[in-house]
């Protein structure tokens, strides 16, 4: 057997491949292969039953050459520095590909919120901030919610930060509720972002949304927003797949002349489960969960789970499909990705397609720092500009160097970070 699977090792080898293409000098490679700063510390907490427990906390700032580090805080019982390093590195590339003036970071606490009362969780949040307060903040490192952390956790952390800092710094954390330093449009940002890149990608294929049909996997926040905007722009969604909690299986809902997003939304519960019986009544065909993949359409939008398009099912994708926009993280298996490339299907990689979320986080930070909050259409308008620019940069480079969009996205990102390091005279 080989050595154990390590997320950080995988992230490093991914970087090494691009570094090779970019012919980065060894010093730069060494700097970018490893985080620039890591904090590991203990958080003692008085538990509700009177005992004291000590939790292990982390913050990794992978690189902040382009701006303050940005990245989530995870609460997970089996959290390790290894996975946090990998995720921090990924944040660096993600911010860079969207051309945001931000670096990458990630943090976490080894704990299981299922085992903690709300008061204990609050103590952990405040304890975490007390340990790293000197090294985070609106100008240094801006954490956000992640696995098992919520807006509430961010507010506790922000409050502790502001108490120690002696002022109001809403830009020190993102993911806050609207009215408490949050940004409008966060709900839709990722889904809209997918469509903004999609529209540009169609343009490169000489297509307009009106000429295309899409099949979408997932009808949660991302799927719903994406479909709504796509329809607004004249596109037709012929199939939507989603999980059904009651039946413990997924279904694909098809209407070849186009689904009605509002109608579907009206029979969908808050987790994105579409009511099967009502859908049938409304004239939708109810097919197997993976049928979304083989629909006759020009566009596929996997916006639910990772690892959905695999070497086993990639052949089932209809020959009509020209474009796949990865709304979810990692929906395409690398092997399947290569087959798609050889079939001439354009894949907008997740790091670019779903960067709408992090872009909106950036907007939240900007608004918080300026203590002035935009209307929703302003957020959406700026998102469009940002996503379009990011896509065109990646697409140009892909065109010039005959690369896949995925490789081009990583190349663009890593090149931007490497240049920032050089410009600063670090390497």
């Amino acid at each position: 057997m080989a050595r154990p699977y390590s997320a950080f090792a995988v992230a490093q080898s991914q970087f090494d491949r691009i570094a090779e293409l970019l012919e980065l000098e060894p010093g730069t490679r060494e700097l970018l292969r490893t985080p620039i700063r890591e904090y590991a510390f203990s958080i003692p907490v008085h538990m509700d039953n009177g005992t004291v427990e000590v939790f292990r906390g982390f913050r990794v700032q992978h690189n902040d050459a382009r701006g303050p580090a940005k990245g989530g805080i995870r609460f997970h019982p089996l959290e390790t520095l290894d996975s946090i390093r990998a995720l921090a590195m990924w944040m660096t590339w993600k911010c860079a590909v969207a051309d945001l003036p931000l670096g990458g970071g990630k943090g976490g606490v080894v704990c299981d919120p299922h085992n903690l009362t709300p008061r204990e969780q609050e103590q952990i949040c405040r304890g975490w901030v007390r340990q790293v307060v000197r090294d985070i903040g609106p100008l240094r490192d801006v954490p956000a919610p992640d696995v098992m952390t919520t807006a509430q956790h961010m507010l506790w952390m922000l409050d502790e930060y502001e108490t120690i800092a002696g002022g109001r710094y809403p830009g020190a954390f993102t993911g806050k509720p609207v009215g408490m330093g949050g940004s409008l449009g966060r709900q839709e940002a990722t889904g809209f972002g997918v469509i903004f890149t999609l529209v540009e990608a169609l343009g490169l294929l000489d297509l307009t949304p009106q000429q295309t049909r899409a099949s979408v996997q997932g009808f949660g926040a991302v799927g719903q927003a994406a479909i709504a905007l796509y329809h607004e722009l004249g596109g037709t969604t012929v199939a939507v797949a989603c999980w059904n909690q009651a039946d413990q299986q997924a279904y694909t809902f098809r209407r070849t002349d186009g689904v009605d997003p509002d109608q579907l939304k009206s029979i969908t519960n808050r987790y994105g489960d579409i009511d099967v019986a009502r859908a049938r009544e409304l004239g939708y065909e109810v097919l197997a969960g993976d049928a979304w993949l083989e629909q006759e359409a020009e566009v596929l939008i996997p916006a639910a789970l990772e690892n959905q398009i695999t070497p086993e099912n990639v052949q089932r994708i209809s020959p009509t499909v020209r474009l796949i926009a990865e709304g979810a993280n990692g929906p395409t298996d690398p092997e399947a990705d290569e087959q798609l490339l050889s079939r001439g299907v354009t894949v907008i990689p997740d790091i670019l397609a779903n960067a709408g979320g992090v872009t909106c986080s950036y907007f939240e930070q900007v608004q918080s720092n300026g203590n002035y909050y935009w209307q929703k259409d302003e957020v959406v308008g700026r998102l469009r500009v940002k996503m379009t620019e990011a896509f065109l940069d990646v697409a140009d480079q892909a065109e010039r160097k005959s690369l896949s969009l995925r490789d081009s996205a990583y190349l663009t990102a890593i090149d931007r970070v490497a240049r920032a390091c050089r410009d600063r005279g670090w390497v």
Partner: protein, 1055 residues
Amino acid sequence: MSDTSPKPVTQLSERSKELRCLYRIEELLSDRSRDFDRVLQEIVNCLPEAWEYTSICQARLVLEDRDYTTAIFDAPVVSVSEPIITRSGQVGLIEVSYRASGAVRHFVPEEEQLLQTIAGRIGLAVEHRELQQVVHEIDQMRGGDRPAYHQWHTIVELLVRTDQKLYARMARKLLAHMCWSGVRDASCLFGDGDVAYLQAAEETGHNAPQGTAPRPDILESSARIFEIAEQNLSERTIFTLLQKWLKEDKASFIFRTLVNLDHPLTDVADAVRRFIDLNPPDGLEITEATGKGIQVLLIRRMITNQLEYINVAKRHLTIRDFYDLIDHVIIPARSHGVIGGKAAGLFLAARILRSYSKERPLLADVATPNTWYLPSDSLHYFMNYNDMEEMFEQKYKPMEEIRGEYPHIVDLFKSSRFPPEIVHGLSMALDDLGPNPIIVRSSSRLEDRFGSAFSGKYKSLFIANQGTKQQRLAALLDAVAEVYSSLFGPDPIQYRVERGLLDVREEMGVIIQQVVGNRVGDYFLPTCAGLAFSANEFRWSARLSREDGLVRLVPGLGTRAVDRTADDYPVLIAPGQPGLRVNSTPEETAKYAPAKLDAMNLATNRFETIGVDEFLKACGEELPGVERMVSTFADGRLTQHSRLMLDFSSELVVTFGGLIDDRTFISTIRDMLEVLETEIGAAVDIEFAYDGRRIWLLQCRPQSRSTDTEPAPIPKNIDERDLLFRTCRHVSNGLLPDISHIVYVDGRRYGLLPSAKEMRAVGNAVSRLNKILPKRRFVLIGPGRWGSRGDIRQGVSVGYADISNTAALMEVATEGAEFTPDLSFGTHFFQDLVEASIRYVPIYPGDEASTLDERFLSRAHNELADLVPEFAALDQVIRVIDVPKATGGRILRVLQNADLNEAVGLFADPTAAQPARSPRSPDHRPTAAVRSAPDDHWRWRYEMAERIAERIDAGRYGLKAMYIIGSVKNAAAGAGSDIDLLVHHAGNAKQLRELQTFLEGWSVCLDELNYQRTGYRTGGLLDVHYLTDADIESRTSYAVKIDAVTDPAEPLSLG
């Protein structure tokens, strides 16, 4: 006033006058501070007011040598009189008459009855006064520093003077006392047989008037006894004994009624009423021992014979409680019934809580709904009245017949008539309960008994109770009849067969209880309701202990908390640690929030299930306490709002956040559970409802110990070689008797997998195995956290659908290099596990007392490659073990015992319920005798499958072979199982269509037959998997089952 028959209004006002008079007399007699002479005079004065022609009415009362009359008393024209009787015989009389004026009048029967009642009441009072006087005199004698023991003579004289029978009884007791104390003279007297007369004197009922005094010889013998006593006992002894016996004697009537089982319940009720009325509010003064004796007898007569219950109940129930109870029991004249199990539990629990209300002030606010009872034998009166006794033989019929006839029985019961006294009683109950919805519940003797789980088998019916009195009464009678009929339902009979309770004489009482709640729009419902368990058997965190308890809380009526539903979830709270929630993120909380609620629709008079969203939008604003029930879900956050600020058009999630934060609610429930568990001496579960203001206790019983939650006995001296694992941390209760397969994911090798892709493949393989292995007959053992959503190294990545058929989910905390794993406790799909009764077992091999036989798991033959060839590459990581094959025919048995905090998995011989057999041997053909045995579901299915194969025209349909797989083949089929068939088809498309049609016909037909037998309906009993030649060749799909190593498909011979 006309002489024609009185109008209803007049009648009413007459009855009310009579009642007023009775109340007044009651009041006068109860006031012991008043002079008795004056009391009697006032009674006489108030009598005329109760008679129809008050102005010409006069009354007279003669008591011994005293005579009381109304102020005006002329010669009567017409009169009615009643004797006043005490235990010494007639002591006086009471007379009411009309004076000579106007026309001659007559008395109506009600008036005569009234006079009878009054005379009886005065008789009792006189008796009581006399006794009181005796006791008082004794007390007087005791007064001062030194009791004047010698004055016992005076007592005896007093007795001879006032109550000779009492005197005789005292003598008898004294005689018996002396005999026991070894007084020789006394023994002689006893031996003479002289005392036989005493017995005789005693046994004449105190209720029967006996005009004559005891015979002189009785008095003589008694005097002789006292002489002997004087010679042999100290004065002090005699005095003390007499004093004690006299006190007890006051209450002897209730004793005599209770001891004699021939007295019907009405007599018991009368005795209790008399006991209390003689000295309200708590009844006659009696010694503690006598009180206990009476209490126990009352418990026996009215509640239950069960010793465990009596032991607890006698500490809490007072005679006064029974006095309050009897007014709510509808007692048919000759009834000897009890109020039944369910009623008993609630009645006792309410009293226990009351007795703690000082110590735990929160409990003072817990209420119980107004409840009426029909005793357990009322069913027999009902059936007797309708000549339906032969129905009791129903339970001995074959199950198919029982099921087939049941709908007719329900109809028959519903169209039968009730005896008038029951109708009358129910009508009174309705008046008392008022026009709110009511629930009619069974309360049979078998239900809710200590140590048995006969719960939920009989019907409970909600009725809206709307409309005119007549309509309401009709609906109530209908419901009671339907509840009665459920005694003959197939499910409870089946249950009784299984438990060996079939021949027990089953009686069914009925509880009629107000539904707790408020009218909201057209609906009537409580704000929330639920079940609470004092022992938590489903712990989602290692920090929770069993003692923290568990609450299943739902909005609306509690029915949804009782039943486990697949698509909806109750909110789970551990009252001991309410901060530790199952779901910690707002998304999880929202996902597992209740989405539906049950309520009574008063407009349609029906019980309905409605979507919570729909309900809140329509009428949430009117629901009391709604702000404590819901949170607003917006922006990824759940927030609570005050009632005023709650926006019912926004997205609302039922979290009960306000109720939980408030702490009073949860603390009250916790106090209830703690107190009831301590007093009852066993874990309890309660049903409760919250109407927005207070908590109502609806039911209490010892925690049901279904196989789900029963602690499995763990044998001592287990041979270590038979042990697969032992674990001693965070153990819940449970028993998995016959596990045939183990799916083991080797934690060390899993951790060494080179990429996330391989790790995901492990999850996919498990998902595939979940579909192939026999349902609930296999266990999953894996490292760290099943369903891990974070770092995939921390556990196999699966969703609930991927493990839904397992019997148990086991997590092994193998110490790794990088981290000590923390187990998940199934948190990722905890609520799904709970609702599906999938057991969770954490194993900590690092613990000293824990073991896991990894040697066995890694050496036994691995079936993985044969079962799912596509995952053969993972055979180092996933090991599928066919237990019988690897252990020479044994199975794995998992025993979990939370009491011992120990769980073991051991290899054992299969239980008798799963006989080692060849299913094809003719010996196992169903016979009449085994027809309704619980394990015959597979037999019948197997036979049917054989029948299909025999009848099928293979050539016509292009059929090559037919196989049977799954639960029927494995003799594990349950009442709801389908028949899994593999059909090897080699014909053309038309033949295939025809074959499908043919089998579809069978499928529907068998489903109907199965419904007749078991009550399960699935829409089609056959689950047919069609295989082609290509499938067989490439061993794809179900073809792997044919000639498989593990659990192979069994061929059926074609006709």
